[in-house]
């Protein structure tokens, strides 16, 4: 005697891209909240301390926002020209910003007036940052130099000028307080040591460098510039690991997420792309304007993006499902109730009798087991297309499809017809669904006219199939045209071969889709007749 074998729900081949864990993670952000700023948002920096306030630098001011408020908590606006690169210290209490006038200003997050003002740069200071000891500041300027400043005395400690163009990117090491990296429009990246006051390593990016990022491990360095994102291995003396070209305009900004260190890049082509650890794009965010700045909150709660049109776009993470359930969970029986007798360890002579495993069947399987076919179909219609199609196939195999479909009222046939309408043109399901449609029409032919609802649904079904047939005829025509093209292109050798190959590659994907579709054509035709 064997147990009832549940209906086998086949794994349906997924058309389109695969759903990976990454894609699911990055998809679980809410739709963006937009905050209008006065000018292009050039820098967003999250405070390392909870509750992760963030500083937004746009136009002539640096504003601090709370994670949930959309009004600025504080605003620093004593800049004569544009402010640049407002960034927090590691303890989140001080903020440094550069400005168009060549000054670097230091603010207390709680205060309003600048605590210190560092003068020395002759042109606008585009990038500033704290070194990891917290007592020094490094800045990069359009005057081709980068300088290190002492916070307490407001004195310049070092001036380093080996770049031959504007310095537009800066990253500091969190492990070594003396090391920082600058990227410049002279296409180079330089690693500096503040103690030696000179460049210790130099890498050629190939395009003007817009952004630099150091991985937390400090072994890898990411630089962006032009359409390229390049990853360098610092431990191998600055050897290039990969060069990515996924954007079609200049990549302006780069950051890392906390969730398994995914790399995010934003570009003027209005996309933000998320890369996996093997540098494959796993997700893309689309924005309405070119992306200038990008930051992810340390707990991945917010993806903040600043754009050229002065809009700050914030995507908040959806609260995860489990937390929600936990909050609502009723108090059940105590833990002891469930482990009663289970934690008894058998003695040496005890004979252990295992409790037989109970197999729970799904609802439609339970109903199929007792041959309640109509109810089984009803319950399957509530679940999902794959299960429903599996149940329909099973009913067809049992020869009881007609019984399951027949004898329904208007309201119980409607879900079935809606299901047919939605999925009958899907090549994965159309084989069985067409025969179901046949049966439905056969059974209800006489009484359709009495129900306006059903009549309308059947009318829509007919239209839907008609459209599908027309569509497939068009596709077949295209296929025919392509065939003739290939036939004429094949004998010509030499120059045309490469071109043909390229066309073939592009078309082959298309063709396979047509072939999938075309398998359903003959059946559709018979149906229409």
């Amino acid at each position: 005697m064997t147990a009832f074998k549940p209906t086998r729900v086949p794994v349906i081949p997924q058309l389109g891209e695969k759903v990976t864990e990454d894609a699911l993670y990055w998809r679980s952000y809410k739709s963006p909240v937009q905050i209008k700023e006065f000018g292009a948002v050039t820098k967003i920096h999250f405070s390392p301390l909870s509750p992760h306030n963030y500083a937004v630098t746009a136009s002539t001011r640096v504003q601090i926002f709370g994670p949930n408020s959309h009004e600025p908590l504080r605003s620093f606006s004593r800049f004569k020209g544009s402010a640049y690169s407002g960034s927090f210290r590691a303890d989140g209490r001080l903020l440094v910003a550069g400005s168009d006038e060549g000054l670097v200003r230091l603010f207390d997050v709680g205060g309003r007036v600048a605590l210190r003002q560092f003068t020395g740069h002759s042109k606008s200071v585009r990038v500033t940052s704290f070194l990891s000891d917290g007592f020094r500041i490094v800045s990069g300027s359009d005057d081709l130099s980068s300088r290190v400043w002492d916070v307490s005395t407001a004195q310049e400690v070092a001036a380093l000028g080996e770049h031959s163009d504007y310095i537009r990117a800066l990253a500091t090491s969190s492990r070594n307080p003396d090391v920082f990296i600058t990227g410049s429009y002279d296409h180079t990246l330089r690693v500096w040591d503040a103690r030696l006051e000179r460049c210790v390593m130099k890498m050629e990016h190939g395009q003007p460098v817009e952004g630099v990022l150091l991985y937390p491990s400090e072994g890898l360095l990411v630089s962006t510039g032009g359409q390229h994102v390049k990853v360098w291995d610092l431990l191998k003396g600055g050897q290039q690991l990969v060069s990515l070209k996924n954007h079609h305009k200049t990549v302006t900004c780069v950051c890392l997420s906390t969730h398994s260190n995914r790399l995010l890049t934003g570009s003027l082509d209005r996309h933000v792309k998320v890369y996996s650890s093997s540098y494959k794009v796993v997700h893309t965010f689309d924005y309405e304007a070119s992306v200038l700045s990008l930051a992810v909150a340390p707990d991945d709660g917010i993806v903040a993006v600043g754009m050229t049109n002065g809009v700050l776009s914030l995507r908040h993470r959806k609260p995860s499902e489990e937390q929600e359930v936990d909050g609502r969970k009723r108090r059940g029986p105590s833990y002891r109730m469930f482990v009663k007798g289970r934690n008894y360890t058998p003695k040496q002579d005890d004979f252990v009798v295992r409790k037989s495993l109970k197999h729970h069947l799904k609802k439609h399987d339970r109903l199929l087991k007792s041959f309640k076919v109509s109810e089984a179909l009803d319950s399957a219609l509530e679940v999902g297309p794959a299960v429903c199609v599996a149940v329909l196939i099973e009913l067809e195999r049992r020869g009881t499809l007609r019984n399951a479909v027949a004898g329904r009222e208007e309201e119980s046939i409607t879900p079935l017809l809606n299901f047919l309408l939605r999925f009958i043109t899907d090549p994965r399901f159309s084989r069985i669904l067409l025969s179901v449609a046949h049966v439905v029409v056969d059974v209800y032919q006489q009484v359709v006219s009495q129900s306006p609802v059903m009549e309308r649904l059947l009318q829509r079904l007919l239209e839907c199939l008609g459209r599908e047939i027309d569509y497939q005829q068009e596709l077949l025509q295209v296929l025919g045209i392509l065939d003739t093209l290939f036939a004429s292109a094949t004998p010509a050798a030499g120059v045309t071969t490469l071109q043909t190959c390229e066309i073939a590659l592009n078309v082959s994907h298309f063709c396979t889709r047509i072939q999938i579709k075309s398998t359903t054509t003959p059946r559709l035709r018979t149906w229409r007749v």
């Binding site: 074998k5 086998r8 086949p10 195999r397 020869g399």
Partner: protein, 782 residues
Amino acid sequence: RSRIHKFLLCASGDLVKVFSTSTEEWVHVLQGHTNVVTGITLNPANQLQVYSSSADGTVRLWDFTDGILIKTFVIGYPIATLLVSNKHEGILFLVVPAKDNSNSECLQLVAAHVPKTLEQEVEVRELSSVLPNISPNPRAVGFGREGEYIASAEGLKLIVYFFRDQKPYRSVPLISSKGAKNTFTCVSCHPKDDCVATGHEDGKIRLWRNFNQKKEYTYTTLHWHHSVVNTLCFTPEGTTLLSGGIESVLVQWQYDRNSKYILPRLGGSITHISVSADGSLFTTSHSDNKITVIQSNLKVSAVIQGLVKGEAVHTDLVIDPRSKALVLNGKPGHLQFYSLQRDKQLYNLDIVQQEYIYQEGLDQYEVVKAAFDAHGSCLATVEERGKKLSDTEITLKFWDYNETAQSFVLNTTVMTPHDNRITSMCFFPTAETTMVVTTARDGCFKAWLLGQESDTENGPSWSCDFVGRYHDLQPTNCCFSADGSLLAVSFQEVITIWNPETWELLTTLCQPPGNIKDLCFGRLSCSRYLLATTTKNMLCCWNLLTCSLEWSTSIAVTLLKADPLSENMAVFTLQKEQTDLFVFKPCEPRPLFTQNALCVGEVQRAIFVPREEPLDNCDESSLWLNRSQLYFTINPVCHLLPTQAVIDDSVAVTPFYLLLGKHRQREQEMCGLPVTEQQGRLLHTAAHVLPPASFLCNMFVKSLLISQTGVKVETEPSEQQAESEKEEEESEEEMDSCDAQQDRRVQGLGVETVPLISKAQERELKKVRRTDYSWLSCLSDS
């Protein structure tokens, strides 16, 4: 079949087997009948003795605990059913053909008085007729009230015969106005009450009462079965009634109350139910050669399973390289692994993995192809459903052997791998690449490859690697060479040779007319040869080094098989409904072995089964068998049908049953005919002075054929002689594994049984004999 607590007796072919109910092992075999055992029943006087009746016209009394034959009663007529009762001591009730006409369809019930003598063999002459017109179905007769009356159903009539007033009462034929099929199928009488339960073809059970008054009988109807009720049985106390039909559900009806309990999904359809004397155990026998022991609380306690008799062997016979088991269709939607060495079913593998619905006329999935890779770690199966082409559903499945589960686990399912039926499938012969090639009637062959990297979390899966076509012809066969360097695919008349690595078409071979039927590469030293048979009765051999035809001969080949362990090839030919066997090496024109008139009818499937250890001592003629054994099944369509009806008319004879149920497997170890002088001269001449082999072979085989037809009469005695000698050897060999439960191996008759019958008779019997395992008679009287 009857039983006391510990033992279960089961009629199987011409044997009665004694099984233990607790361990499922068979304890011993009661051997002695020379024809099918038709009925067994316990001796009511002594519960340790059992009567068995057989179609050979004898009733035998056995002591089944020791397995000793006590007495033989010679009746002289083939017996269809045997009944005994407490009240009638010394009387055997037998169903035998009516005396006045030889028509086997007409049966009568007779009472035979057993003479009390001490002799071993007693001839019983006192036969008195009790009831005429008995149904051939053994379940349609039954004793009521411990022998006060006897009930018999035939067609639309129920007859109750009371021994007290020696008068039969007849029921009015039940004719329903709706034209329902309410023919009686089985009868069971209540042990205490005047009540007869009858089963009907429309699935109803009727309980008849008050039948001892004239025309005032009443009946109640119980209806659960949706199709024919096969068997009915009351428990000894009469509190419950058990019924079973083709739904394979045991239904337990409470006699007085209107409640029932069901035990579903027991296996094949239930053919018999019997109850132990104390009512604590039930046993059901099933059409798929299975006996289930069930406790009275409807818990299955033991299952005795033989080689499952499927509807037909769709898959070719395949050997599992890991367990060396024979793999073929078993239960519907299953593959069974059957150990030939131990003659025991190892396990069933569920291929279809769907709930089997027992309903007639339903389009079921069938496993049609199965193939193993070289080490038995991969299995590919094809299942099919749908008779019409438009709604054929084909599924290709790939299975991996799982060491921990000790079974095959599904890896990949390919829905609709081809647009039309798959004609053949083969695995890459060596372990380096895991590749399967399938050919189908949609005009293409596909190569399936196991993916290298695991792109999914479930490990590597199979995908299609190459689709090949040749001029829009239909591929029929595919075959890899022994080292896997070549793939031969036959497209109707043409054989194409491909390189499986680059998928380059290397060459084509063709020998019109006739489509290619079988395709086979030579092995070991003959690996340069490719053999093929065509529908126009040609056997061709190509040399692949020169790409030319080496030799060909005109011979009506039905089957071509290669021995995996040697160069030998076996060819079965059909001539005048007799099958001949030739064994040869492709490189030499002289057959190693020939056997004319191997069997009657066409050989359907054959396979070389490697021996566990090669035999070393055997004579020259059977040298080819020392590495592997050749097994084959025949399909005796037209031959067994008439004989069948004569012998055992108590069985419900359906053509399907006869046609498909008979897997005749036998070990073939007979000497060939002595080669005629002329041929001998030819064969002993040095090779270099002979004309080319291609020329000679044709002639040679022709000469063989002539000798077969012309010399047959003279050689027959010697052939028989050889045969009987061989059989003796054979039976000795088989003693250790002589459980001929279902494959009805033709055993050496002469050894254990009476050597009285002449050889000719023996031959007749052999032809005629076949086992009917589903037939089981049951009766348990305390």
